[in-house]
């Protein structure tokens, strides 16, 4: 008999203990995130999709030195370099990346490229919605990675209207 009473009291105590935690937490601020209904919140140093930065004049910081590509353990960075000219200056250095691709089906977000970059051009942003049904769309081009121009800054590439029309045709 006595053991039955002990059992009931013990259960009640356990429930009370559990509920006390529940009630205490109800009074604390919420930490659950509402993503995708609300915005996702990151630690500042979260390593997400890459951003290619611009300098204070709006020129691209990347000088196509290939060091990020050399540092990348999975070899997912592809660059083609080209020389800046008087007429068309794209980066601050002698040359710029005419093509800069990162293959996100291979990138492991290790950040080695960011470490290697001598001009702080390639950085990790916070973008993470990278899923796709088609791997070919996972090769991200320079144009998709470039930081937007600050308002009032001239774009570094003055596109030739013919070339723009051609590019539009392809889409």
């Amino acid at each position: 008999m006595a053991s039955k009473i002990q059992e009931i009291l013990g259960s009640a105590a356990a429930i009370a203990k559990g509920m006390s935690i529940t009630f205490k937490e109800m009074l604390q601020p919420t930490i659950t995130e509402d993503y995708p209904d609300g915005p996702a919140i990151f630690q500042e140093r979260f390593r997400g999709a890459h951003v290619l930065q611009r300098d204070e004049n709006g020129l691209e910081k990347c000088v196509a030195c290939f060091l990020c590509a050399a540092a990348c353990p999975v070899e997912c960075i592809y660059i083609e370099a080209k020389e800046n000219t008087e007429q068309q200056r794209i980066s601050g250095g002698e040359r710029y990346a005419e093509v800069y691709n990162i293959d996100y089906s291979r990138c492991i977000f290790c950040g080695y490229c960011v470490e290697a970059c001598p001009t702080d051009a390639i950085t990790h942003g916070h973008g993470f919605e990278l899923a796709s049904y088609n791997t070919s769309t996972l090769i991200i081009r320079k144009e998709q990675m470039l930081a937007p121009l600050e308002p009032g800054k001239k774009p570094s590439v003055v596109l030739d209207p013919a070339a723009t029309a051609l590019a539009a045709d392809h889409h």
């Binding site: 030195c65 050399a70 083609e80 370099a81 080209k82 250095g93 040359r95």
Partner: protein
Amino acid sequence: MADLVTLTINGKTVQAPPGTLVIDAAKRAGIEIPAFCYYEGFSLQAACRMCLVEVEKMPKLQASCTLPVAEGMVVKTESDPVVKARKSTLEFLLTNHPLDCPVCDKGGECELQDMVFRYGAAESRFTEIKHHVDEKQWSPIVFYDAPRCILCYRCIRVCSEGMGVGALGIVNRGVYSEIAPSHGDHLECDECGACIDICPVGALTSGTYRYQTRPWEMKHVGTICTFCSNGCKTTLGVRNEKIVRGNNRDKSGINGEFLCIKGRFAFDFQDHPERLTSPLMRIDGKLQEVSWAKALEAVAKKFAEVKARNGKFGIVGSTKTTNEENFFLQKFARQGLGTNNIDHHRSGDVVTLMDALAGRTNALATVEDCYQMKAALVVGADLAQEHPLLAYQLRANFRHHNARVYTVTRGPVREDQYSVSRVRTEPGKELEGVESLRPMLSQEPELLILFGSSIKGEDVRRLVAFADSLNIPVKYICLVDYSNSRGAVDMGLLPDLGPGYQPVDNPGLTLPEMMAATDLDVLWVVGANPLARYSLAAANAFVVVQEMFLTETAQRADVVLPAASAYEKNGTVTNVTGQCQKLTAAAKTMGTKPDLEIMGLLAKEMKLNLGIWTVQSVFEQIRTQVRGYNIPLPVVATGQAAQTSPLNGRIPVISRPDLIQSASNTLFTSGSLGRYSKKLTSVLEYPGELYRP
């Protein structure tokens, strides 16, 4: 030989001949002493102070690049004072050197970068602003960025001593010192690019390669230059199937690191926009693109039909295709089509020389002989223009061994700068000039004779007879034009001689005879452009052309088959001195096929049994069937040059000296192919003519 001197370097006992420099003695013992200005083969400069070493009993550190070894010397190359001195030297070099390695072309293979990495300080104590000068373009090929220059004088020495041009000098003093080109603000020179490659830093950059990629991003493929007959090995840097640079910094090959403008920069014909990438067939009077299958079928049908009715073929081979292709082409002609009407552009009388030497295989010189032999006679050739590597070797021979060089030429040549005697003659009178040198030549211990295309037929025999009468050992080089001109003769692209100079029964038509024959049914041209020089008499001839470009001949063709270039195929070529070397495919142009494959497919289409036509099996046939080509496989396979000796007796045919005509290319021209190199044509405004006054 004098006794060896014994010294100790880093505790290691080293022996070296007297007069050896400490830096060389150390290198031979496997100890590296870093240096910027010191360069083997050129004069001493002692300008950079990187090679300082500690020598016992000497109060100060010594520059090992100018210090000869001495008996009992004790040298330390990595002691604390030495390492400290190197660190300081580097700190000084970096006072004005910009830290722009990320954009500099030399980054990744820069000697300064390597040294700073090994010995340099992480931080500079200089706070002053670096002296800056803007970059200059000196020519379509050469750019100079003065701030990066560390004033090692290597470029100046390679240009004046190595090339014999002397286009570079130094101006101003102190931090304002700069390298300056010969003509104020621009260069008028060979545009060889030797200065660019020898520069330890990125001060000199090339118009073709600059700011395109980085050294580690390329595939490096060693192959043989496809222009002149000298057979330089060029290492092509390839990225994305595109050749972006050529050099030979590893000094492999018969040329060491030498290359002229063609070997170093003229590879750009490979992706010229006018490259043919699809077979063309004349339909309704116009050349139109068709599939390979259709083009091959049409050619095979025509060939079979003409063969069946015993029609007349004319076949023109190339002086740039490989030995395998040339061998297979003559086999196709002789066995497959049953004709001896096969020829090529002849540019030197190799046949008569082989006959006149009558089996003296030791009388054929190699490229190395140009550097080693004690005396040389140049007859009727402007070597520096037409045969840049041989000229370079002779010059080095003079510099290092005081070789005695004689020239008998029509006009002034660069060899005049150092030759002991120069004779000017009218063309055709060279032998009189040679005769006038008899008293001097007969005093020489040995002689190398290089002769151009003006010495042919009986003149070759007279030249050999003259040399025989000197009673000294003589070796010969019969100068020919293109990368495989020699191989074309050796492989029997001749109407009267088969492979290995074997006479054939019923000799066929020569090239001019084919072009003049009004009843010619088929003209088949593999990698040549005969219509640039001749016109085709047979208006109804069916013309098949294997070409890279729509040349004059291809424009007249009924079927054009797009061929791969020499940089896009494997095989072997034989240079002017008979050295056989391996081609390795570096790039690819979609739509083209190597000539060997085209001919193999044609044979298959015609159901001819000409044997397996892979490169290896045809090379094996050459080794077993062509006289003098039984060369060791490993030598060729490892990218070295194997000397062929394709003669061991008389050749009972007349060499037709009237057909021998050199294209007389200069440094900046190379027949039809040269027209398709933008780099080569961009420098045409600079001097480059033969026998420049």
